[in-house]
Amino acid sequence: MEQHKYSISKWCTVSDETVSRLDQVVFEGEKGDFAAFAKAYYKANEIDYPKFFKMDALSKLAFIGSECLLMDEEFEKPSSDIALLFSNASSSLDTDLKHCESIVEKESFYPSPAVFVYTLANICLAEVSIKHKLQSENTFFVSPRFDIDLMYAQASYILETNRAKQVLCAWVEYLEGTYQFFGYMVSPYKQGEVEHTRENIKNIYKR
């Protein structure tokens, strides 16, 4: 197989109310409140997308991380060129707990469709595909920790079979206020970029 075929062209983390891109802090919010942080990021980046405020926390987290990776990408919309592979440990449990609260007592039985729709983990992936008009390959996985082997194999398959030109791989975990986004773009290799290998994904993830 040809060497240096694909690279990790950029990466981003969102945790502790801080957004980092290529290991540089690009946004810092006030500590201790994800909702306030998300709103502050939205305002600071002059994003005009009112749907953002209807999203659950998991979708907001996926939105912010993906925004950071996709804002400088230029492509015609809709596009099938950027595939999405997302994963996390808790699925949609954070919102599941909210839906569950609305149905446990007969007196306060009031399930809401606006909450229920977010009781599927892949909705955060859908929010990203809708925002960026990505009519592309997409899968949501659940694993106890970020599964590098799985992501590497699935992203490589998509690229090698020409199903997309780039793949946005991400770990999007949110449960009861504790959260982490780690995402990276796998792209055709350019001189000087980090090669797409399992070892390099591991190194970037650890930083």
Binding site: L120, L125, A126, Q135, D149
Partner: protein, 374 residues
């Protein structure tokens, strides 16, 4: 790329306690959909529920010790026949498709009890899998998307074979949610019919074994093409043009190298909601599949969510093995804008290539093409 075959299949459904009983029930026109008196605080709904006694009877035959939830037992019941046929090797991959896992435990045990990773690890340990399990959680396409994922792992050389299992339970959690969407039918669902009133929910488990190797003389089903393309349109409603499903079918056709006219059978998703069935009719018509015999199997099982695609694939494979078309239960008069050839009478037909599709919340779509290899 390596060829990947489905070498064995199994299921536990509201129609039958195993694959043979399910196939027999379908042949006799039976449906697992019955009136359910109560689910949580919701009363008198139609649903495809599996009686606890059926699960207990099947479970007791297995002689397995240890503590497992109802859904875990259902998954193990479906998986066990495949394990008996082919013991997992050190590289065998276990893949689970589910939307909600043990969500029924959420009210009692909190987030810990509903952890999907703990659930699949218990099953992996029971059967001695050495590799890390994979969980696909992608709404109602999960069941067949998991087959694509397994096929790709085999083609990337990560493993030689994969056991794909899918399961979801009928729970107050899901029923109350669909009810709040006003998406549920007050009678057994009628996919593609003019009088369809919405979804009937159900529960099931299913399993298929995927392998790069086939035994000489066995009839197997090659996965010749697959694709999963998002609508990128709306989180809870399908695309009006069926774009994602259209692109998924085109992607599967491209990989397989066949044309639409070579497809003998279309097993649609067909949830019986107004928008979904209409969207599918547009996508199938755009793919020039309007004249191909088509069914939805939701009239037998209800919508079994993450299990639906895999359960229906198991039935499609039986249908192909017997060269027997399965009637699209609940359908009488077309209620979609595009022409479709919905199967209304059981008949024999040589079935060599089938298309299985699924679409779900988030605008997700998956298309899978399988070909019979004798």
């Amino acid at each position: 790329m390596k060829k990947v075959y489905i070498t064995s299949t199994s299921c536990l459904s509201s129609v039958g306690a195993d694959k043979h009983l399910t196939w027999q029930g379908i042949q006799e026109g039976q449906s697992g959909i019955k009136k359910v008196r109560q689910l949580g605080f919701i009363e008198d709904i139609y649903a495809g529920q599996i009686a606890d006694e059926v699960i207990d009877t099947q479970w007791n035959k297995l002689n397995i010790s240890g503590v497992f939830t109802r859904l875990e037992k259902m998954l193990i019941i479906a998986l066990k026949p495949l394990i008996d046929q082919n013991k997992p090797t050190d590289t065998s991959q276990l893949i689970l498709a589910t939307t909600k896992g043990n969500i029924n435990d959420l009210a009692n045990t909190g987030a810990k009890g509903a952890n999907i990773n703990d659930m699949i690890q218990r099953i992996a340990d029971l059967f001695g899998f050495k590799t890390t399990p994979i969980v696909v959680c992608n709404a109602c396409v999960s069941g067949i998307l998991a087959v694509s994922v397994g096929k790709r792992m085999i083609q990337m050389g990560v493993c030689e074979d994969a056991y794909v299992i899918a399961g979801d339970e009928l729970t107050p959690f899901v029923v109350s949610g669909f009810n709040s969407f006003q998406a549920m039918s007050d009678e057994p669902c009628k996919p593609f019919d003019a009088n369809r009133k919405g979804v009937t929910l159900g529960e099931a488990t299913a399993a298929v074994h995927l392998s790069a190797n086939r035994l000489e003389g066995d009839t197997v089903f090659e996965v010749i093409g697959e694709a999963s393309i998002a609508d990128a349109n709306h989180i809870s409603g399908p695309s009006r043009t069926g774009e994602g499903l259209y692109q998924s079918i085109q992607g599967a056709l491209r990989e397989s190298g066949i044309t639409a006219e070579q497809i003998d059978l279309v097993s649609a998703h067909g949830t019986a909601t107004n928008y979904n069935d209409e969207m599918e009719s547009i996508a199938f018509d755009r793919c020039e599949l309007a004249s191909v015999p088509t069914h939805s199997l939701k009239g037998y099982f209800g919508h079994t969510l993450g299990a639906a695609g895999l359960l229906e694939l198991v039935v499609v494979i039986e249908s192909m093995l017997h060269n027997q078309l399965v009637v699209s239960k609940g359908y009488e008069v077309s209620g979609v804008s595009r022409p479709l050839n919905i199967i209304t009478t059981p008949s024999e037909l040589s079935l060599n290539i089938a298309l299985k599709t699924a679409s779900g919340f988030g605008g997700s779509n998956t298309a899978l093409l399988i070909a019979k290899r004798n």
